[in-house]
Amino acid sequence: MNTVNAAQIATTHPTTVVLDGMNFSGRTDALKKLLSQFSGKRASFVPPEVDHVISGLGATVGEEIQLGRRRQKDEIDAFTAALQMRVSHSQNPMTLSGGEKVQLAILCAYARGCAAVALDVVLEQLDPRRREAAIGAIRTMQEAGASVFVVDNRRSETWECYADAQLVTMSDGASARPRLHTGTIGRLSKPDSVAEPLSINRLRFGYQRGQAILHDIQVTLLPGRVYHLSGENGTGKSTLAKLLVGRLQPWSGEIRFGEVRSQPWRQPGRHVAYHFQDPDVQLFTTSVRSEIESSTRQWSRDPGTVSTIARQFGLAGVLGRHPFEIDSYVLRKRLALAATIACSAPWLILDEPTLGQDDESAGVIARIIDLLASQGRGIMVISHSPDFIARLNPSYLTLRNGVILQRGG
């Protein structure tokens, strides 16, 4: 990998450029600036809110790929295989998992013959195997004449895959960068929120009659521990989380908290709070303050609680702003995470809590999770980042073919 500075990047020939740096070092702006050099040509900026690049015009994945297609069908088929994308063409693109949407966005950019593609922290949403495949597919795009610009916080995990890319290291710049702090963890969540063991017994669920995606989920999770739920994109991790929260009702099976058989769909969010992969679908109030307050109100009326949490998550400077006025995805992700942790539910499911966060921030999030577990809360983390998971020292759960495999206690 050649290291260059931003001004040296020549976009006259197809190239792959990786922008390296901390959060708030201006990587997203630099991506947009690079893309602006291709005005008049087709370009695709894929932001972490991948939903926004699904056109909404195609009723199926097949139609979405066809929209504005310039490449031949056999080229697209080969690229699909290179991405290891296994999504049915008849599926509604809006119902895809986060990782599958990322694959679709990359595939569409290729199919449409874009001259430039910018990927802003989206590869993090792919499981390790598909992330490597996607980086390989980026090389194919470059060979086909496109320039690809990438911001990838997990670059160190797939360093060798970027072998031919140019590396641009952004200067740290922002000295007043809003940082995460472990802080006084006692003020982050309900003090007496101690979890009961969570037992799942023969749980079955599917979205379509006769097509179960979770076949026989059977596992007992203990409070005070961190569990890592892994599985390839689209295997049903988020679906399992929604079942435990109570957003979905299982076809059969039972869920117990301690000795009590529970029907979470009758009291959603009572035992389990869920942090979504995409923060934008989790935020629902009109200010950062009220977003956190909607969770802390369940256990604290002290206004200082909200301020403390906001400071710890680097949100103190935006407390009065509407969540969607905050341009930074990094801050919105932190806000969604803070609001979930501040809930009174004793169990937490955190879906990709470090998306968009740099290495330093991911380290602080790992410490916060560790401390919450040490207070007696039960925590399940869904993440595709081996480095982050290694920091948590968790018990491992793997979702494969609709069943859970457990190792590590």
């Binding site: 690049v53 066809q66 809006m94 874009c114 009758r266 009291q267 969010g269 539910a345």
Partner: protein, 242 residues
């Protein structure tokens, strides 16, 4: 079943709407609705959407029209207060039925455009550039609202803010969610439109927009639709003249 071509769709809608505006008799409007619109709605699978339109949009407006012109004013517009209560009621009925028929025509001829043919249809209507983007955004706005409404409900549940899933509880969730729902849907629409423009998705005349492009031909379905709309238009003109 063969699809009517984009231009035929537009022509049928415009003719049906013209008839509804010309018709001055609630009997003709009612007959056209029951005799033509309702069977077509059932055949095209839009009956539930039409019923929803009647309940949510038409009924509140119709009630207000009957209350104002039939009861409070007791006369049609331009007539003296309490001078002709029956004419006031007829005015309310005609206006309500006109709305019903206009809505039915829009649902039958415009809202049944398959999403995969939306771009080619709007382009066939002569929309280009920003107008085309605006047209597309209008069509995807309501499906977007539905997705966002579900996301908001899920988000509130995920933090324990929805105590249960009873219908009354869910209805109570609507009010605090409306503003956000609108914000999210508009935001997503704007972002999508930016992305469409960035990719110059609709610049090329030969842009592929469908996995299985349709070749339109005037088949039996189109002929029947043309016949029904012609009968409707003649009936409306006759009711106006006589």
């Amino acid at each position: 079943m063969s699809e009517p071509s984009p231009l035929l769709r537009l022509a049928l809608f415009l003719l049906a709407a013209t008839g509804a505006i010309l018709a001055s008799s609630p009997l003709v409007l009612g007959a056209g609705w029951i005799g033509i619109a309702v069977p077509l709605a059932i055949l095209t699978g839009t009956a539930i959407a039409h019923a929803r339109f009647l309940v949510i949009v038409v009924t509140p407006i119709a009630v207000m029209l009957f209350v104002v012109w039939g009861w409070l004013i007791g006369a049609p517009p331009g007539a003296g207060h309490d001078s002709d209560r029956i004419a006031g009621i007829l005015f309310a009925a005609t206006t309500s039925l006109r709305l019903v028929v206009l809505g039915a025509a829009a649902q039958l001829f415009l809202l049944t455009i398959p999403r995969s043919q939306l771009t080619s249809t709007l382009r066939a209507w002569g929309l280009r550039g920003d107008l085309l983007l605006a047209g597309l955004a209008t069509f995807v706005f309501f499906p977007e609202l539905r997705v966002r409404a579900d996301q908001i409900l899920t988000a509130r549940m995920a933090r324990g803010l929805v105590p249960d899933l009873r219908l009354t509880t869910r209805i109570r969730q609507i009010a605090p969610s409306l503003g956000l729902l609108f914000t999210l849907a508009v935001r997503a629409a704007v972002n999508r439109a930016d992305h469409w423009a960035e990719q110059h998705l609709f610049d090329d005349e030969d842009t592929v927009v469908s996995e299985h492009p349709i070749e339109y031909k005037v088949g039996a379905v189109s002929a029947i639709l043309i016949g029904l709309v012609a009968i409707w238009l003649v009936a409306c003109i006759v009711s106006r003249v006589c």
